[in-house]
Symmetry: C2
Subunit: 139 residues, 2 copies
């Protein structure tokens, strides 16, 4: 499938600052949240000015959910997490992005949501590279 045309799309600067790039799928960029407390992917459809899933055209919605699904399956396979969490909020960063997070009963936010839980603990560079490469080989 041809990558969806990026057109005027540019990644939100906060998402850029908080993540490591993993891969470009046909519609979404897949990012690793730079918070070693949680295995946490963010999918960003490369659509300029998109903020709400409901406002996407049907074929884009289908592709988005297929890619979210793919990301969630790979995340679970790589991390053996006990529960998947998924969310689209956008209250702070308006650019449309979907969170996919692997959760454990022993993690720092359990059973609450990861959003708004304390401060991120960035990965060591070598760990981030290893994780990014692991994911990259699966997309």
């Amino acid at each position: 499938m041809t990558p969806y045309p990026p057109a005027e799309f540019t990644l939100d600067p906060r998402l850029q600052a908080d993540t490591h790039f993993i891969a470009s799928l046909s519609l979404c960029d897949v990012l690793l949240m730079n918070d070693s407390r949680f295995p946490w992917l963010i999918l960003v459809p490369r659509i300029a000015r998109a903020t709400e899933i409901v406002d996407l055209d049907e074929p884009l919605k289908s592709t988005l959910w297929r890619e979210v699904d793919q990301a969630a399956l790979q995340l679970r396979a790589l991390t053996s997490c006990e529960k998947l969490n998924m969310g689209a909020l956008g209250n702070i960063v308006r650019q449309l992005h979907i969170h996919v997070i692997g959760r454990y009963a022993a993690d720092a936010a359990w059973p609450g949501p990861v959003w708004g839980c304390g401060s991120a603990v960035p990965y060591e560079d070598i760990a981030a590279k290893a994780i990014v490469n692991n994911f990259r080989s699966r997309f």
Copy 2:
């Protein structure tokens, strides 16, 4: 479309206690979260023992996302909310359920997530009935 067979499905007791029933779509029951701080719908696919979206068969996934989409559009139309939030967590209640919430910059949890934010403020009975009826006429 024939309603999806409920089979052994029964609604989780906590979801039952925390919500008002609105409607049964072809796959999901649509519930109103009994928290007047936020316009908040919960969609529960009537599938016994389902806990993760990724584990549903493809046709069920498509139907689920279509119904979530429909609920989000009706919620936005009825409430003129400023932002939609959507999430599937299930850390506390394992039965698969999807949250669709209308958010305002002036609401009690903004810009954080609604989950884990203080205590629910139940609707007055008359208000709950009116809201349920409003939604019911749209599904």
